[in-house]
């Protein structure tokens, strides 16, 4: 469509995902045997790419670009770095009309370093830059760069470099940072017996606690309070003869990107559970918020753990340092064999809170399963979102929701406020989101990803549908993409609102539902054919006229039996207009594509637009036997049963 023959936008999405595994000897550093809890330094990516291809107007274009991105690790935000683009090279092209207007603000990368036993892993993801190419011949969508890829780096140091040999070079220089010191070990007094003291902890409202986040990664969410105490060994009701300091340590804390699956964008990332100093005034809290020690000796101490993610998890351990006594590891109140507290309560270890499982799954959920079954649709289960992702939830119209693991969800961006029309008859749970609640990522032809903060137990990228008002060139609507398919294949759902309303309000509601359904893999009821010429009965229906080209266009559309106009008359997916329909007694005739003669009549006025998705192939209304002038206008549908064609899962089809 070149009706808007001025500057259009072209976007180049560069997505590079890299994984650097540095087998660094972190156990033996300047701090002896302590493991670093954090890292600082920089990671630098230089990418030079050359790409060529055709834009949507079939114009051949070439691009060359050099980009550099630097990520700085700040120890105070743990292991995630912030990144900014610099020195973006100008795009070059073999067409003089290309103009590079790269916006650095739209370019970002997310680089995450993870520390585990014996090695450092650096993950680079979402390396995305958006270029705007100005052209008077229409926009081009092109993908430059490759990914994901991974490599093994030199195993000797925390500095190094790597190149893929295709233009991408990554260099890094990281050094370890260490956390707060535990209290000094006490000299064991000869008269003390190791079994004299016991320590235990418990969390308030633990069974029902589910993590919640604040507005963004910097804002605190809900909290869990843990009380630890010392008492006489085997006598929980007896006060301890000694006071103690208590040390609380969080470990295995998640650092999922963002606070939920789609909020916020362009985030640094950070640990999802922390010990916040402002909420733990009686504790000395380590800079990284992962450990804290009570300032004073006491019989008990309280710890407040703050959540920064709707799906965070971690493990808490408590150690008591009694005065003049050897250290005592605290166990869970009432359970002497349990020295770790999973936060949230997670008996099955799938990082999904048990209380959510109890009310949404009943039993153990498989975190990466995607088995939503309602509505049935084409019987492919799932909506492209794993159980963990549904649990972690989404931001929808500014509010966080956890979705249900058995209901299929479809996300839609409708910046024109067109509405969903009759699409609710699909019985899919649609969720209209705002522009900042999805992200542009790799995955052409539809770059709009809803679960862009995915990490743990993801089923992969799931796309939303973009519903857009557009002045079209003769049709009411169009699902722009590769034809009917799952959301990832549908670039934009276009609706010509004013043309629909020229017919009536119902046409608008039907067209929106019809085109959205194409974005969920629903097809038309069948196929029509076109004819270039026809004859009509003349002289009181006695002779056929000469062959005439259709005056109403290059070709006339025939509503074939079993074609687009066939099936249930009220179905949204059924066409309700054509030039001719087939009728053995009709006063026109033409040659079918196979060369046989076919009689028929003019289609006449369109029927009322549909308002349901059909459950059957059987023709009804004008398509019923004898339904229109004693014939069936287009017969039973070839495909039909539209309700059983829906699929919103990007991994299918």
């Amino acid at each position: 469509m070149t009706h808007n023959v001025t500057c259009l936008l072209s976007r180049i999405f560069i997505c590079v995902t890299a994984l650097v595994c540095v087998a660094a000897p972190i156990a033996q550093t300047q701090s002896g045997s302590r493991a670093p809890i954090d890292w600082k330094g920089t990671v630098n990516i230089v990418e030079s790419r050359h790409s060529e291809g055709k834009n949507r107007n079939d114009i051949y274009v070439k691009h060359s670009a050099k980009r550099e991105i630097t990520c700085t690790f700040d120890p105070s935000v743990n292991v995630d770095g912030t990144c900014s683009l610099s020195d973006f090279g100008r795009l070059e092209s073999d067409r003089g009309w290309l103009e590079d207007t790269t916006e650095a603000s739209n370019a970002h990368a997310h680089i995450k370093a993870e520390v585990s036993a014996g090695k450092v892993s650096i993950g680079i993801s979402g390396f995305t830059a958006i270029h705007k190419l100005t052209t008077d011949l229409g926009g081009a969508t092109d993908t430059v760069g490759v990914g994901p890829f991974s490599f093994q780096a030199p195993a000797t140091s925390e500095s190094g470099s790597w190149s893929d040999g295709k233009g991408t070079t990554i260099t890094w220089n990281l050094s370890p940072v260490y956390g707060s010191e535990p209290p000094p070990a006490q000299e064991k007094e000869p008269e003390d017996k190791p079994s004299e003291l016991e320590a235990a902890f418990q969390a308030e409202g633990y069974d029902d606690w589910v993590p919640e986040a604040g507005e963004d990664e910097a804002q605190p969410g809900n909290t869990l309070t843990i009380r630890a105490r010392v008492y006489k060994h085997n006598e929980p009701a007896e006060q301890s003869p000694k006071k103690a300091r208590f040390r609380f340590e969080l470990s295995g804390v998640s650092h999922e990107k963002g606070v939920c699956m789609n909020w916020p964008q362009l985030v640094k990332g950070g640990r999802d559970l922390k010990i916040d100093p402002t909420r733990n005034l009686e504790l000395d809290v380590a800079r990284d918020g992962m450990s804290a020690t009570s300032k004073e000796l006491s019989y008990d101490a309280f710890l407040v753990v703050t959540s920064y993610d709707w799906g965070g998890w971690g493990t808490l351990m408590v150690t008591a340092y009694p005065e003049g006594h050897e250290t005592v590891s605290a166990h869970l109140e009432g359970n002497k064999s349990k020295y770790e507290l999973a936060i949230p309560k997670d008996e099955d270890g799938n990082h999904i809170a048990d209380s959510w499982e109890d009310t949404n799954v009943l039993g153990t959920a498989i975190a990466d399963a995607d088995d939503d079954f309602a509505p049935v649709g084409d019987e492919h289960q799932g909506d492209g979102l794993s159980t963990y992702e549904e649990y972690r939830g989404f931001r929808v119209q500014g509010q966080h929701i956890r979705t249900e693991p058995f209901q299929k969800d479809l996300f839609i961006w409708d910046p024109s406020d067109l509405g969903l029309g009759y699409f609710d008859d699909s019985r899919i749970t649609t969720r209209l989101v705002k522009a900042d609640e999805f992200d542009l990522q790799s995955g052409a032809p539809n770059p709009r990803v809803i679960n862009f903060n995915r990490g743990y137990a993801s089923a992969g990228a799931q796309h939303l549908l973009y519903l857009k008002n557009e002045k079209l060139e003769g049709d009411y609507g169009s699902a722009a993409g590769t034809g009917p398919g799952v959301p990832k294949t549908c670039h934009t759902v276009l609706i010509d609102r004013s043309r629909c309303l020229e017919k009536d309000e119902q046409e608008l509601l039907t067209t929106i539902a019809h085109e959205l359904a194409h974005g969920c893999n629903v097809e038309h009821h069948g196929d029509n054919y076109k004819i270039k010429e026809w004859q009509s009965l003349e002289n009181d229906r006695k002779t056929w006229s000469n062959w005439r080209p259709d005056p109403r266009g290059k070709a006339a559309d025939v509503a074939a039996q079993g074609g687009e106009e066939s099936g249930v008359e009220q179905c949204i997916m059924r066409y309700d207009a054509a030039t001719f329909y087939e009728n053995a007694n009709g006063s026109f005739r033409w040659k079918r594509p196979d060369g046989t003669l076919q009689r028929g009549d003019e289609y006449g006025f369109a029927e009322a637009s549909g308002n349901i998705f059909c459950d059957d192939k059987k023709g009804t209304g004008v398509n019923a036997p004898m339904g229109y002038r004693r014939v069936s206008k287009a017969g039973d549908a070839t495909k039909g049963i539209c309700r059983r064609q829906f699929c919103v899962n990007d991994r299918m089809h």
Partner: protein, 341 residues
């Protein structure tokens, strides 16, 4: 006493009948009240109270139906502002999807595909409802559009209130609107050529803002607050001194679209014909010419113009999955009208 016995019996029977009738009536009323549809707005046992969200309107802005466009200085523009309630739409669709899943869950339970306990849990989830909160805007004395203004920013700048002369065309019919899951309201604003000529060239982002201040004379149940649309990115180019044929086509088609919103059909036709003269392959220019001809009574001219648009569509989009239904319907309708003249 003996004498009064029948009276006692009759009186007792009467009392019993009254009590029975009262009990029956109460039971009947209770039954009726159960079957009444519950108001979604208020708390019911199955409501998702913890997930309840306050009402919030959405405001959308399109300039010449676009969210990204390039235009020349001096070309008139149509700003379309639409208000809706997407939170309500989400809640409504979610409730419908839940309700519709009940039968499916029951079927699965009956077939043994899910256990009885799990089915019970799922049915409980499916029977929950999310409150659908409507948003009320405006009053008979103060139309909702009076609370709309536009802001713009140039590259790197911050948004500032626009002082453009924009006139509603026509004035919106409904001054107060209740935005529920389906309802929406819109108003078009025209930026006439002389005002468009005063815009400076360059890139600009424009937003529409709905801002209803606290207090005021609006009814208490009106929504108050501020919401802004997604920005429309507009590139204003200097008017070309010697426009190419393609540019002439584009400019005149934009003019035709503008006059169509104003329902100034003679100017629609004149602009569309100039666009066609400059670029005969512009399908929408033929459609605009046909619109104007039809309104002005030239049915044959309209039929031919729509026919030419369809011919161009078939030529330019031979493999289009969607057929030009608008054109096919228009042509059929005009053919019929021409035959019945």
């Amino acid at each position: 006493m003996q004498k009064n016995r029948p009276i006692f019996i009759i009186a007792s029977l009467l009392i019993l009948a009254v009590v029975a009738f009262f009990l029956y009536f109460r039971a009947f009323r209770n039954e009726a009240s159960v079957s009444e549809p519950t108001q979604p707005a208020q708390s019911s046992p199955g409501a998702l109270e913890s997930e309840e969200v306050p009402p919030l309107p959405n405001i959308a802005l399109e300039i010449d139906t676009e969210q990204e466009l390039s235009t020349f200085r001096g070309i008139p523009l149509i700003f379309t502002v639409r208000v809706a309630n997407q939170r309500a739409a989400n809640a409504d669709v979610e409730n419908r999807a839940r309700r519709d899943s009940i039968v499916l869950i029951q079927d699965k339970a009956a077939k043994g595909e899910i256990g009885a306990d799990k089915a019970k849990l799922m049915l409980a989830l499916a029977r929950r409802t999310r409150p659908v909160r409507a948003v009320k805007l405006g009053s008979p004395n103060q139309g909702w559009e009076q609370f709309v203004h536009f802001e713009y920013r140039k590259e790197g700048g911050s948004f500032q209130r626009a002082d453009w002369v924009l006139k509603p065309v026509p004035a919106p019919g409904r001054r107060s609107v209740t935005l529920d899951a389906q309802a929406r309201a819109e108003v078009d604003y025209a930026l006439p050529p002389e005002a468009a000529g005063r815009l400076s060239a360059g890139s600009v982002e424009v937003i529409a803002v709905l801002e209803v201040p606290e207090g005021g004379s609006l009814p208490q149940d009106n929504w108050r607050g501020r919401v802004a649309s997604e920005p429309v990115r507009m590139k204003i180019l200097p008017a070309p001194v010697n426009p190419s044929a393609e540019e002439k086509g584009t400019i005149n088609l934009q003019m035709a679209d503008f006059y169509a919103v104003l329902k100034d059909w003679p100017n629609v036709l004149a602009s569309a014909e100039e666009a066609i003269a400059a670029n005969p392959k512009l399908i929408r220019a033929h459609m605009r010419a046909a619109d104007a001809k039809e309104v002005q009574g030239d049915l044959k001219g309209a039929r031919d113009a729509y026919g030419e648009a369809k011919r161009l569509f078939d030529e330019q989009y031979p493999n289009s999955y969607e057929h030009p239904l608008f054109l096919i319907q228009k042509i059929s309708s005009l053919d019929s009208r021409l035959r019945n003249r």
